[in-house]
Amino acid sequence: MAVEHASERLVELLSRDDALQDQWVDAVAATLGGRISRAELERELTDLYQALTQALGKGGLDWRGEDYSEVRALLVEMSRTRARHGFTPTETAVSVFACKDVLAPTTDSTAEDITAYLQLTRLLDALGLFTIETYARAREEIISAQAEQLLELSTPVVKLWEGVVAVPLVGTLDSARTQVVMEKLLQSLVDSESEHAIIDITGVPAVDTEVAQHLLKTVVAARLMGAECTISGIRPQIAQTLVALGVQFGDIVTKATLADALRHVLHRSGAQQPAAPSTAGGDR
């Protein structure tokens, strides 16, 4: 009974004065430091204000209810936009919490108004938390999307020579990365009709047994397709560590640098080397 009454009273209070909305926009704009245009903020908050007033009128104070679906949808949209634009959680939630100040009781408020205000505070707290939660979820989505992009970005397959492709690996090589590397490498072997692949691990900070195993698998897969793999970029400290670990690369050719590997591959395939001055001069 009291609750219903409170929500009715709140609708009255909220629709009483158009200045309330402006106050809200002012309060939010002050915290955002001009990073959102006032017009945009006004549109955002006006929608929210109207949706909130309507929801209060229809659905009382149960923010999880059907009547609040529009309010929630608006909040979801707002927090996603804020998350994407790099606003902090505080800056996002303040848009909701600032609404409290607008209706803050004064000395001449009636007891009834204060009760209504307390109900509103509780409602806005819940909605504020909801906003933060959505914000966090949006951020997580952004992070995982970026991680995926990074995975793609960090594994380029480049053509070094006619029939020779290379994969310069940079960073940590885990199962997911290896999978991407292997797929890309095998596909580019087919696409470029290459018979040689060079996997360069200069940029891999630590080569442990897992990394070694992943490399071995990739090489075996390439071999199954008839391509020969060379692993390059074995630095002195990596070589010593691999020996101590007891990892054996068997008959896989390994080289210290990418240049060595390319020279080896070219030599082996009998490909045309860059013309040396003596042959370029020729007899003719």
Partner: protein, 138 residues
Amino acid sequence: MTGHEVEQEETVPITSNDDVVRARQTVRTYAQQCGLSLVDQTKLVTAASELARNTLVYGGGGRMRCAAVRRAGRVGVHAVFEDRGPGIPDLDLALTDGWTSGGGLGLGLSGARRLVDDFDLHSEPATGTRVSVTKWKR
């Protein structure tokens, strides 16, 4: 492990693959601060990587404590990997090259032992496994 002074210590929880990377980075930072040579740094970091992954894969997660230590005028980096997993039933077998209970190369534990100066493996069925390693500055 006793007999050394701990100068600075840090704990890294190991519950995901990202934590293995974090553990490795922590160890690398300590190894650099301690002034280990590049080869020794790489050896210790690789050993830490193996042990952290064991903690995660076989121990079901745990934690690593990494510390800068000093003993008899020498400085070094000490790392302890602990889990509350099923433990290792046969230590000698687990330390045999090429033996694995998972799908790995079977060189992680035995290889890690060869990569460090001090290696101490303690495991009891049902209570978990603790591996301590130290690399001293030459």
